[in-house]
Amino acid sequence: MDERDVEQVLRAGLAGHAERADVTAPVAARARAAVAHRHRTRWGVVAAAAAVVLVIGGAAVLTRGGDDRAAEPPGVADSGTTVADPPAGWRTEYYGGVAVDVPAAWGYGGAPLPSQPLTVCAPGGPPGYVGRPIVQTDVCTYLRSGWQPTAPYVWLGAALAPGTEEWDNGYVQETVEVAGTTVTVGTADAHLRAQVLATVRPGDLCDATLDAVPSGHLDLSREGTGTPRPSTLCAYRRDASGELVLAYGRRIAGRALAESLEAVSTAPASEAKCDVDELVVLTGDFDDRYGGGPASQHQELMVAPDCGYVDIGGAPRKLTDAAVHPWADPGVRATLFYFIGPQG
């Protein structure tokens, strides 16, 4: 049997099997309905944005009258274009084009999935949680049939229309959309809900999306690297359309980047050839201690966990635990499949 015969068998076999597909399934109609739903969601944005402005004003008044600093709402970003530290006891969460501040003690969980807006896989628990539309387990919760929230939450990027829902147990869920990303806050505490909603703003720590998988870059001098300055971690995941969307971001200590860089520099070369579905970009500047001025060395690591390599410019290096450990916080571990692991 020569190659032409094998090709002919392959063509005939594929053609025969293709005929078994049910091409009458109403897939196009379902796609149209999903698009229409999203359009309705976007029409709600203007009203939602106005609501956010009102909430921000109300929260500002509450803040001035408060005397408990730990419970104070975070400062409202004035322009939405600068990275500001959240106040003590709060942290900033990023997803897609949006940023929001939440109580620092909250954990991580799931949020309604784009394909199944009434399903959450791994809802978190007390004292509260930040959920992303990511499957963390194959045990999922259907948000009807008597489900009621039992802990405050912020869902980022959930496929929900702006608006408000109420539960019998006093929980109220409010969804707004900013910079193309929804933020949903659910809690029985109206003050807390207003506090969190008041901080919703366009995110500016990381790019909301990436057009392509970036390359790493190292500035090295013969004298070595100097003192690291605060750095940035941006984690991306490829969505159903193939676009790399920001899934998680935070500022990290420069030391974490330095430790990861040191581990990568001693790791063996990687021969991995792989389509990158999720990646982490670590970016930071180190003082150039012999530069004689304010000059700095810019370092950028592109970590592809699912492909097992790190790009620092030039030949990729194998990803090792030592390279991951300095920055793999609970948020990263709840966001990337490399850490979540397979389900089912």
Binding site: M1, E3, V6, E7, V9, L10, R11, A12, G13, L14, A15, G16, H17, A18, E19, R20, A21, D22, V23, A25, P26, V27, A28, A29, R30, A31, R32, A34, V35, R38, S115, V135, R238, A240, S241, G242, K273, D275, D277, D306, F337, G341, P342, Q343, G344
Partner: protein, 174 residues
């Protein structure tokens, strides 16, 4: 057909609807071969169509809509495969068929389907694009976002594996 062009459809929407109506059957068959499952095929095509519709002005102007949707179908399948822990792709049960030489035809189609089930998703997509969609190597490389050399390697290894499978069948080893 389940797609309607209403009076309120914009020209862009009407263009999308017309394209979907013409291509939906082919896209579903392609997705079925790539995913090996009717359900997965429907999910992948639906997600791809939603994205294509929302970006239709750009997709129809700058890209080949077929290539765009095929690429998203493949990406969705590869992502699902990775999330599931690289388990074997689902394969629909091989059904009896009728033909001039039913036994030989069934045996060969069975061998093809077994081969497809064993291939990693990207390689399987390359095979489907080459031998079902009749795309050439540069076109496949564009759809899959990989080099032409990788496409050739995928296809060559698949053909070698199928030849082994068919020869084993001939010897009665299967």
């Amino acid at each position: 057909m389940d797609v309607e062009v209403t009076d309120r459809a914009t020209p862009a929407e009407a263009g999308f609807d017309a394209w979907v109506e013409a291509r939906i059957a082919a896209l579903l068959r392609f997705a079925y071969l790539v995913t090996g499952s009717q359900t997965a095929a429907e999910d992948a095509v639906q997600a791809a169509l939603v994205s294509a519709c929302e970006k239709w002005a750009r997709v129809s102007r700058r890209d080949d809509p077929d290539a765009y949707v095929r690429r998203m179908v493949v990406n969705a399948h590869i992502s699902a495969w990775r999330r599931a822990g690289r388990r074997e792709s689902p394969v629909a049960a091989v059904r009896e068929t009728s033909g001039a030489d039913p036994a030989a035809e069934v045996a060969q189609q069975d061998a093809v389907w077994r081969l497809c089930a064993a291939l990693p998703p990207q390689q399987r997509a390359a095979v489907v694009l080459r031998f079902y969609e009749d795309l050439d190597y540069p076109e496949i490389a564009t759809v899959l976002g990989i080099t032409e050399a990788t496409v050739r390697s995928h296809v060559h290894r698949a053909l070698t594996a199928l030849r082994r499978e068919l020869e084993a069948d001939d010897r009665g080893e299967a």
